[in-house]
Amino acid sequence: MLEAQDLAARRGTSQLYEGLSFSVRDGVALVVTGANGRGKTTLLRALAGLSEPAAGTIRLDGEAVRPFAAILRRAVAFAGHAAALKDELTARENLASLAALAGADPSPADIDAALDRVALGPKRSLPARVLYQGQRRRIGLARLALVRRRLWILDEPVTALDAEGTALLAGMLDAHLAGGGMAVAATHAPLAVDRSRIASLSLD
């Protein structure tokens, strides 16, 4: 369970949000909405432990966590705007490298299977440089599946994904939640996930 208490964010001198409190239970995805610049990304980065909130506390399973806390780093899979791919490495190398970084230790077969699942099998030996934006995001999906974290934090996960990619994401998210995982996603488009598993938070 992830709890936020009285969170506030400031950028320069302006206040983005204040007194924000919510909790995300296991098996639930919190969908954060709000117009551009309302602080969705800022909130997600704070929850992932990448930045210190201007005020307030974040608790994971009741324990207050500070930025980069070890328990947070073991629980969170963060997918931000950037896909963390190296242009010089192949799709497969990129995925293997990212999985290792997250502490997972997949075999080459696991990697290939994960790439197949996101329909990137044929592209696995191409350098990431030549992949389209949508294909790059799919590697990110494969990573999410491989690293097995409890808490997914997804910033605009459907951007640049086509219909098939979006369906893929929804399926994975559904399975993740059904398995007791948590998720926080900032998104403009609705997610095609079992409605009962979705909680909403608007920053407007």
Binding site: R11, G12, T13, Q15, E52
Partner: protein
């Protein structure tokens, strides 16, 4: 006795306190400067070998000492800022940097103008000169880094890391430069072999050092007041200040 340090570490309480302290230190500095200058320029006798030029010592040595000392103080506040995440310590460190740079600059300047009559040159690659110059670069680096970062919280932390890394390096630089110099050649002018300094000169120097020290404290406190106001301009207590309400 239990002083509630956190109480004073809050910018809102510290702001008025800083104002009162700054005024007190400024008056002290003024009094000591008057005394120091009187000793230095009236009481102290003309030097047998250097004539009147040696009187630069009364400004040169205090500023040179302060340049080094302020860096230590800055490092202390930076360590507090990183360790305890206190805003006020970071502001103190920020307010000290320009003063430190000024002191280093003054030491260089007075030293150079002293060197002209005594050594026949404005500049030599002497150990103390060189290490003071590098110290000036370190101060300027901290100031430049601060200016380059928009977000003050991030600037606080980044400058604190830089200051601490520099603090480890300052003694290393000091000794390396010293050693480098002696490896090549003997010091062009040996200050230590000069006749023992007269007591009256020493007194004058010490008085001027304290004057300089207090002046630095006063200026740093005034600057920290300004920084507090700028950073907390959104906060209620700033809006309630008489000076702010008037404008």
């Amino acid at each position: 006795m239990a002083i509630n340090w956190y109480h004073y570490a809050s910018p809102a309480t510290f702001h008025p306190l800083a104002g009162r302290l700054a005024a007190a230190f400024a008056w002290l500095a003024a009094a000591l400067t008057a005394a120091g200058l009187w000793i230095g320029f009236v009481v102290a006798p003309t030097d047998a070998t250097q004539g009147e030029a040696y009187r630069i010592i009364f400004i040169h040595v205090p500023t040179a000492w302060m340049a080094m000392f302020i860096y230590l103080v800055m490092a202390f506040w930076s360590a507090l800022a990183l360790g305890f995440n206190t805003r006020l310590s970071a502001m103190m460190a920020q307010s000290l940097a320009p003063t430190g740079a000024l002191m280093a600059l003054l030491a260089l300047w007075t030293g150079a103008f002293w060197g002209r009559p005594t050594w026949g040159t404005y500049w030599a690659w002497d150990a103390r000169m060189t290490s003071t110059l590098i110290l000036l670069f370190l101060y300027l680096g901290v100031i430049a880094l601060r200016n380059a970062i928009d977000d003050p919280r991030r600037a606080d932390k980044a400058c604190a890391v830089l200051t601490l890394v520099g603090a480890v390096n300052v003694p290393i630089i000091y000794f390396s430069v010293r050693w480098w110099n002696t490896l090549h050649q003997g010091a062009s002018v040996s200050l230590t072999s000069a006749p023992k300094m007269a007591t009256i000169m020493l007194t004058g120097m010490l008085v001027m050092t304290f004057a300089c020290w207090f002046w630095c404290i006063a200026v740093a406190l005034w600057r920290v007041q300004a920084i507090i106001l700028e950073r907390e301009r959104g906060a209620g207590w700033v809006a309630a200040l008489p000076a702010v309400r008037e404008t």
